[in-house]
């Protein structure tokens, strides 16, 4: 009887934005609102930054605003250095954001206000997850699928999975590990730094890694020669 391979079901998520009705004009406002907004709001402005599909100068909305609208570039750099995936929960991440801003405010107690219209608007999202109707049963199918799916699907399996699975693990590498046990390929995918790449480049890295693996599996000449 043929071996039953657990297939990879591709999913995707989209987010609908909701306004919290709160905004910040200054760094002190930003700090005070971060202290009280919902975890969904913190989640949106940090983790979901990567859903935008392009990485600007900084790595979360708070850092981006501090740099662009308040021109507090040193603070932006410090906020950008916070990796949301390092924290056990969003309240720990919130505490870290507050610590960084508080330290900055101690040093520079009178940061400027932004011009009207450029305030920071606090939003949160509602997320809808849905199957995209694509299933891969082997690495070759997976390779075709990864080239074909929307960026939102890469986001769901590569970024959002890290929150579900923890420890910097994404859905793709976990499936490859569980089903094929290909440790080297798993490590290659896990070595992709989610902070440093756009979804487009993450897709390209995964494609390249899997193509190498599939090619290696196809090329039997080495094995033939060894067996002679």
């Amino acid at each position: 009887m043929a071996e039953i391979i657990q297939s990879f079901e591709f999913k995707q998520c989209i987010s609908i934005l909701k306004s919290t009705g709160r905004k910040a004009r200054s760094l002190r406002d930003l700090r005070n609102v971060i202290a009280v907004v919902s975890v969904e709001c913190i989640f949106h402005h940090t983790y979901q930054y990567f859903l935008k599909g392009h990485i600007l100068e900084y790595t979360n909305d708070f850092a981006q605003w501090a740099g662009e609208s308040l021109e507090e570039r040193a603070l932006s750099e410090q906020l950008s250095n916070i990796d949301p995936y390092d924290f056990r929960n969003i309240d720990d991440l919130r505490s870290k954001l507050l610590d960084v801003i508080d330290d900055y405010l101690k040093e520079f107690p009178k940061p400027r206000e932004t011009i009207p219209g450029n305030e920071f608007f606090f939003n949160e999202t509602m997320t809808l997850i849905f199957p995209v109707g694509i299933r891969a049963r082997n690495l070759a199918e997976f390779l075709t699928a990864i080239k074909y799916i929307d960026a939102g699907s890469i986001y769901y399996h590569f970024y959002e999975a890290r929150i579900r699975l923890g420890k910097g693990i994404d859905d793709f590498s976990r499936w490859i590990e569980d089903v094929f046990g290909k440790k080297e390929l798993v490590e290659r995918i896990r070595a992709i730094d989610p902070f440093m790449y756009t979804i487009k480049r993450i897709r390209a890295h995964i494609v390249e890694s899997i193509e190498d693996e599939v090619r290696k599996d196809m090329e039997v000449i080495d094995r033939c020669l060894t067996g002679m």
Partner: protein, 403 residues
């Protein structure tokens, strides 16, 4: 209708639209606004309704009726919500309510989900029978006259949710405030692919030569679009680059200043053969489409703007767009990625020169711009979002749902 978007809109959006439509199959969905034709809301509804119907949703579109007094009041309400000082008396608010009451007697308001567009029909909430009622605000409410907003919000608070176009337009009210950006229709006359022959027809009609790069701004001759500033920027560029400027637009009929602005622009242009001012009649969508496709760089140098969907229309043609950093333009132009944001005439001139002298940068930016619009500003995404809001409100209290 739905099939026309296959191969254009993101696959995920089309799939989710179908999945949500299956969940909401045969459920009734009512849209109400105040005009059947003219304006962005009617334009989007005209395209959206047949597609939703084809997907199996029992969708209807009703339009409220009113006399000139009613529309004069609602125009004042509209303007004051956009920040203009207007006096709306109690008597005027009463007239607004009474007109809606009369409409409620004639309209079938029975539906599973109802979207009321803009302030004109907002009091219809008082005649709600059942279902989820959502107030959809298309207006820039970042700086409203608070007294007018306070009067209107007595109705808005009674809705189940609101939808605003941009986060900064949302007001602090104790109901859900969703943010759904407007969209363009990629298969409409204004945005569909054109054949070379169709483009040539437009070039012939306006006698536009293609022997030098073309800078284009499509907008009404309105001070907020800064057409004079565009001519001034062009003068700066002309010292360095040989190019043609096209200012295309219709005179602002409802703006008494429109003629004055047009005269000013013509004076500034001073019969320069490299400045082409095109006064387009209504329904010139195909010509606008063609002009955008032949342009090298497109401008939207507004100094005040609502959402500014003309930016997305230009980006959809794969062109680098330089836009004023106002209203909804920064949501469409990611500075340095999908275009350039500018704050001055000199800034606009500098960025145009940068793009004219670096065709590779212009090409890359244009490609990214088109993809950005594909993923964020097509009508299929807006339809998807409306159905999502309906679905979420039907599953109240849950922030993550799996289909």
């Amino acid at each position: 209708m739905f099939d026309r978007y296959v191969g254009i809109s993101p696959k995920g959006d089309l799939l989710l639209l179908q999945l949500l439509a299956a969940k909401l199959h045969n459920r009734s969905f009512l849209h109400i606004n105040s005009t059947r034709a003219g304006g962005g809301v009617a334009e989007i509804l005209q395209q959206m309704i047949p597609v939703l119907k084809e997907l199996g949703i029992d969708v209807r579109w009703e339009v409220i009726e009113g006399d000139p007094v009613f529309f004069d009041i609602t125009k004042k309400v509209h303007n004051s919500l956009q920040g203009n000082p207007e006096k709306i008396t109690d008597k005027m608010w009463q007239y607004h309510y009474e007109t809606n009451k009369k409409n409620a007697e004639n309209l079938n308001l029975d539906a599973d989900a109802v979207i009321i567009h803009d302030p004109q029909p907002a009091p219809l909430i008082e005649f709600k029978k059942r279902g989820l009622w959502i107030w959809r605000c298309h207006i820039d409410m970042s700086n409203p006259q608070m007294q007018v907003w306070n009067s209107l919000s007595r109705y808005i608070k009674k809705y189940d949710a609101t939808i605003f176009s941009v986060a900064k337009f949302a007001r602090a009210i104790p109901i859900d405030k969703f943010i759904i950006t407007p969209s363009i229709d990629p298969v409409s006359e204004k945005n569909r692919e054109l054949t070379d022959r169709e483009i040539q027809e437009t070039l012939d009609k306006f006698q536009i030569p293609l022997d030098k790069p073309i800078i284009l701004q499509v907008s009404r001759f309105d001070r907020f679009k800064d057409p004079v500033g565009v001519v001034q920027a062009f003068r700066i560029i002309k010292k360095y680059n040989d190019c043609l400027l096209i200012l295309a637009g219709s005179p602002a009929i409802d703006d008494p200043e429109g003629d004055i602005v047009l005269k000013e622009v013509k004076e500034y242009a001073a019969n320069d053969p490299d400045i082409c001012i095109l006064l387009l009649p209504p329904f010139s969508d195909k010509d606008i489409n063609a002009l955008q496709r032949i342009a090298t760089v497109i401008l939207q140098k507004s100094v005040k703007e609502g959402f500014g969907l003309t930016v997305s229309e230009a980006m959809w043609k794969g062109k680098p767009v330089i836009g004023g950093a106002v209203g909804g333009i920064p949501l469409q132009i990611i500075h340095g990625v999908t275009g350039f944001l500018v704050n001055s005439i000199e800034g606009a001139a500098f960025r145009i020169r940068q793009l004219l002298n670096n065709p590779e940068l212009a090409r890359e930016m244009g490609e990214k711009a088109k993809e950005y619009v594909r993923n964020n500003f097509l009508i299929t995404r807006q339809m998807r979002d409306y159905l999502c809001v309906w679905y979420f409100l039907g599953n109240k209290g849950r922030n993550i749902l799996e289909l």
